[in-house]
Structure formats: C-alpha cells, structure tokens
Amino acid sequence: MSDLPPATPAPLVIDVTGLTKSFGEKRVVDHFDIKVPRGAIYGFLGPNGSGKTTTIRMLCGLLTPDEGSGTCLGFDVRKQAGRIKEQVGYMTQKFSLYEDLSIRENLDFIGRMYRIDRRKQRVDQALGDLGLADRAGQLAGTLSGGWKQRLALAACLLHEPQLLLLDEPTAGVDPKARRDFWDEIRRLSARGVTVLVSTHYMDEAVQCDFITYIAYGKKLIDGPSGKIPELVGLETWRVEGEALPALEAKLKSEPGVEQVARFGTVLHVSGTDKDALRATVKRFEAEGTQRWSLQVAGLEEAFIYLMAGARDNFATPTGKAA
C-alpha cells in the first residue's frame, strides 16, 4: 500500500491478507487485510459486532482463520500460534484476571505463564509502576474499573511483548484514567512496541497513527489517521448564526447534505457530492442570516459520517449477501 510513510519503511509486525472467519452461517470477518509497521499505534474502529474482537483473536492465535494467511511478528498466524502468543500482550475486553486472587498473585501467575526471568523483581517493579505496591495483597476483584484496567495492562506488559493487542481497553473507564492510559500507550509506542487497539471513542481514534474502519467484517477505510477525511471524501461547511436548530432540521432533507452535526454553537454540514452540496449551501446562504464558510473536513466529521453509515451489526442486514 502506498499509504505508508515513505521516509522509513518500517518492518511489518503484522502482515495478513484475506482473513475470513464464520460462526455458523454468519461471516464475522470477511477477507480482511492489514499491514502494521513496527512501533505504530493502529486503531480499529467500527460498530458493535463488526468483527473487531474476532480479528484481534485471529491475530494472536486464539482463533484459527477459515481462510487467509499471513504473519504476525514474523510467525505464521495459522501454524505458529504458540510462538506468536509468547510475544504478544493481549488485553481482553472484559477483565480476565482472577478476581479471587490478589494483585500480586495475579501478576505472579501471569509471569509464570510466560516463564519470565527475574520474576519477583519484575512483579515488584510492575507493582511499583502501578502505584499498587502497598495494596499488592488486595483481591483483584475489589479494584475499581480504572484500576482493574491498569492492572490488566500491567499484566500483559509483564513479559515485555513486541505487540500489544488491546480490545476496547478503555470501555467503562473515566476520562482521567483514559488519558493516563493513552499516555502509557504513547510511551510504549515510542519504545518500539506495536499497538493494535480497538475503540469506540473519537478522542482515542485521534491518538492513533493509523486507522482502519470495519463494518460487517469488511474493511471500509484504512490509512494514516491524517488521510482518513480525504479517503472518506467529505466536504464540510461550517455554519454560525441564529436559529440553528430550525436550520438543522431543514437541511437534513436537502440535496447533497449527508450529515449535519452540531459542535457547540456551530453546525457542520457535510456531504460527498461536492457540487450538490455547494448548490444547497448557496441557496441557504442567500435566504438566511447565518454565516457559511468552507472548512477542512476533520477526523471527527469523517467518523460521524462512517458511524452513521453503518448500522449496528447485530441487526440483521437486509439485502446483503454475507
């Protein structure tokens, strides 16, 4: 793909093509390709049930793909799942450490699973970094959501993985904890750890170097996050002035207008058919009192556009073959 930064063609940590997985009749992931360069933060976006979790599970060897092939950390995703697991840190959507074990016991257990050396030292180090050294004996189940998430991250970093697979890591975590979490992800990325993270949050998507958008198990958009609006092909007009709610209602059925989003006291009116949109804008500009100005479409508009376009995948798709 030509989207990679031309300066340093970093080696690919993940390089898979045609990954496909069906559960019964339902094709959850449909010929999915992805190339992830070393040290990148790659964002996985898409509605619920779009196949994000299934894709991540296939990448780390928890699921065997029905079709497709490729490598993860240089190992074959079909045949060398065992080798991949040794170097991947996988953080599940749901807290999956033992609630009836203490914090230290959990970390100790994980350390043993990966047979890490200097285990005691590294567990102590992790506890210190977490700021949980004095609560090491507390049962993990008694921690709050934010702490559980930090503990889970610490657990999957214990064996110093090359690749982090994070499945909606910040779901149900407060904004402060989310920001701290992302600071940590940035630090890891700077050290050369590759991060693949699925999320629903816009502010997190913005933090990613690359973004891929999935719906119905199919990849719709994939590229550096800066290029996403361009890839979506959206033109956005900004409207300021009086009587915006009435205007918003009226605009929605006008030709060329595909999306009207409210940002505080302004409206963002977007569409992919630029000529039709401009004609509409001209007409409203002449009639009304509001001020219109063309602006560069941002990531946010692009995502609202994508999200609005894809219904929840749990609903039965009508008129779709897959």
Partner: protein
C-alpha cells in the same frame, strides 16, 4: 390487587420459557434425563436377580443329583457355567468374581439319601454382592423338595415331613449378612465419583464463565499443562477423602480390610484420575457452572445404579451390563470389595485395573480433542 401485575408476571414467565428453550443442554437434560433413566434403570435394575453365574462341584452323579441341578437351572436363578473340582478352585472362582455361587454335591450323596443319612449340599454364596444371594438361596429349598418328589418315587418315596437331605448355605465374605459390610466399601466408589467429577468440571467451567480462560489460552500455556495443573489439586482432595473413608469404614463400621494395601492403593489412584478426567471432559461440553453440575450428576446415577453398588451386576440384563462395564465405578467397586472383603491381592484385580486404564485413555483422548487452545 395492589402491586401484583398479571402482565409483569406473564412477562417473566415468557422470558423464562424463552431462556429455557435457548439453553439446549439444560432443556435436553430436563426432557431426556428422566426418559433415559427410566428406561435404563427401570429395566436394568433387578432386586431379584436371576441367571447368576454358578459353578458346581459334582462328587456324585446320579438321577437325584441331576434332578437337583436341572431344577436349579430351570428356576432361572442359577446359570451353570461348568463343573469344577476341589475346594480351592471354588474359592478362587468366588474371589475373582467368576461365580456368585459354588455348589458342592458331596460324595455318596445318592446312596446317603436312600439310606436316610441326611447328606448336605453345600452352597457357597458370594455375599459381598448385596441381594445377589437372597432370592436364589430362598428358592433353593423349594427346588430341592420338588426334585426329590419327582425322583424318589415308589418304595424310595419319603414322607413329606422328613427332609432326606439338607442344604447348607455359606455366605462368604460377609458371614453375618451385614448391610454395612456390603454398602460401605462401595460407598467409596460413589463418594469419589460424585465429588471428583463435579469439582473438576465446575472448577474448569468457572474459568470459561468468568472470562479468565480467554486470558489463559492467550498465554503460551499448553493444554496438558492446564489439564494437569487443574487436576492435581483434586487428586490430593481424593486422597484426603479416601483416608477419611478408610478410617471411618474400619473404626465405625468394622469393615475388615483383608487384602493387599498395594492393590487398593493402585486402584483408588487410578479411579481418582479417571474421575478427574471425566470431570475435565464434562467441562469441555458445559457452558456454565450450572450445566457442569447437571452433567456431573448425570454421570453419578449410573455409578450408583449400574455399577453393582446397590444391585448385583450379574443380575442385570446383558445390555445393562454392557453399559455398566463402561462405568468406572463398576470396576473400582469390584476392586474395593475384592481387596477389603475377599482378601484380594494385586493379581486378583489386574482385570479391573486394566479396565480402568482403558476407560481413562478413552476419556482423556476425547477430553484433549475437545479442549482447544483456541476459542473456535
């Protein structure tokens, strides 16, 4: 009616039915279990067992002897498996469980009857098998009287009031006919099957239910490591249970321990491992702890009813014996009874030990195939 709403009530009712229908395994158990158990146990269990394997030591051979043997055969209680010679051979057959009865017709039996010396037929019964002996022994006196009435006619006919010969029954291995002697050794098989299977199944399913299994298999851990690591702690629990059982059996119930400790030790270790493997197998099928409990219970009933614990194994129809042969408790029960009551040595229980090994291999193979390192 304040606070009670028919609509809300029926909403809950409908929801429950929908959930019940969706939970296929539980639904299947609710419908299938009673039917299977009714068919299985209704036909298999027989508290008046017939066709019990019997050996006969013929030290005399004449019309009267033949009439007695034929009468016993016709009663359908006894199934003659052939003649034997010598006391030792008879005892050996009883201890190995090849026969439930050994019948000894004494020398000069016919002559002594005719002369009115009142000779005695010896019936040695394996009384370690509860209720096996009861019906058969009770039927014996009737069979004998009939045989005499039909054979000794004319001048040899005896007045009905005088019995021309006696039948002496030796209840081997449980001379007092104590129920506890029958039940207690068998209970170890039941206790171990019940707890070992259930504990393992639930412990493993808990991982899946809480989501920790996903974390576990995302690490490089191997299936065998998980299986052994989860099973071994419960082997220890099994040891504790067995120790408690042995103390209670000997101190409280006065059950003897006649045989080889070594044979017993091998047997119960093997049996514990078989049960743990079975629990592991169940855990690969059950989706939650509730289902694991139900499936475990499903395996426990055959252990109680088809193993020979409550009802004599030999008295069941052939197909039920066939199913029972696949139940680990059947073999362990034989080991415990042979060793504790009959003084069995290692050589006496090799057949049962091998049977357990075969069952273990079969269960483990299926369990390992079903347990995946992936979530497929």
């Amino acid at each position: 009616m304040a606070g009670l709403s028919l609509q809300r009530f029926s909403a809950v009712l409908i929801k429950e039915f929908i959930q019940m229908r969706r939970d296929r395994i539980t639904f299947g158990m609710m419908i299938g279990l009673p039917i299977i158990q009714l068919m299985l146990f209704g036909f298999a269990i027989n508290s008046d067992p017939r066709h019990l394997p019997t050996l006969v030591e013929l030290n005399d051979n004449g019309p009267l002897t033949r009439a007695v043997i034929a009468g016993m055969q016709n009663s359908s209680y006894f199934d003659f498996r052939g003649p034997i010679s010598g006391v030792a051979a008879g005892e050996e057959a009883l201890r190995r469980g090849d026969a439930n009865f050994v019948i000894v017709i004494p020398e000069h039996f016919e002559r002594d009857v005719v002369r009115g010396h009142n000779p005695q037929i010896l019936v040695a019964a394996d009384a370690s098998d509860p209720s096996a002996a009861g019906g058969a022994v009770a039927a014996l006196s009737g069979i004998v009287s009939t045989a005499i009435a039909e054979t000794l006619t004319g001048p040899l006919a005896k007045p009905a009031s005088v019995a021309p010969f006696g039948v002496v029954v030796h209840r081997e291995y449980n001379p007092e006919g104590k129920t506890s002697t029958n039940i207690v050794p068998g209970l170890l098989a039941i206790i171990l099957s019940m707890t070992m299977v259930m504990i393992t199944a639930v412990a493993i399913v808990k991982e899946t239910e809480r989501g920790t299994m996903e974390m576990l298999i995302s690490t490089p851990v191997r299936p065998l490591e998980v299986m052994l690591g989860k099973i071994l702690p419960y082997v220890f629990v099994g040891y504790v249970q067995t120790a408690v059982f042995l103390v209670a059996a000997m101190a409280v119930f006065n059950v003897p321990f006649e045989g080889s400790l070594w044979a017993f030790f091998l047997g119960f270790n093997l049996f514990i491992i078989v049960n743990l493997a079975l629990g592991f197998l169940i855990s690969t099928a059950a989706k939650n702890q509730m289902q694991a409990m139900q499936l475990s219970f499903f395996t426990i009933l055959p252990s109680i009813l088809l193993s020979g614990f409550m009802f004599p194994f030999a008295g069941m129809p052939a197909w039920a014996q066939f199913i029972g042969t696949g139940v680990p408790a059947t073999h362990f029960l034989k080991i415990v009874r042979k060793v504790m009551l009959k003084g069995g040595e290692l050589g006496d229980v090799t057949g049962e030990l091998w049977a357990l090994v075969v069952i273990l291999i079969a269960i483990s193979a299926i369990a390992m195939l079903r347990y995946r390192q992936t979530l497929d």
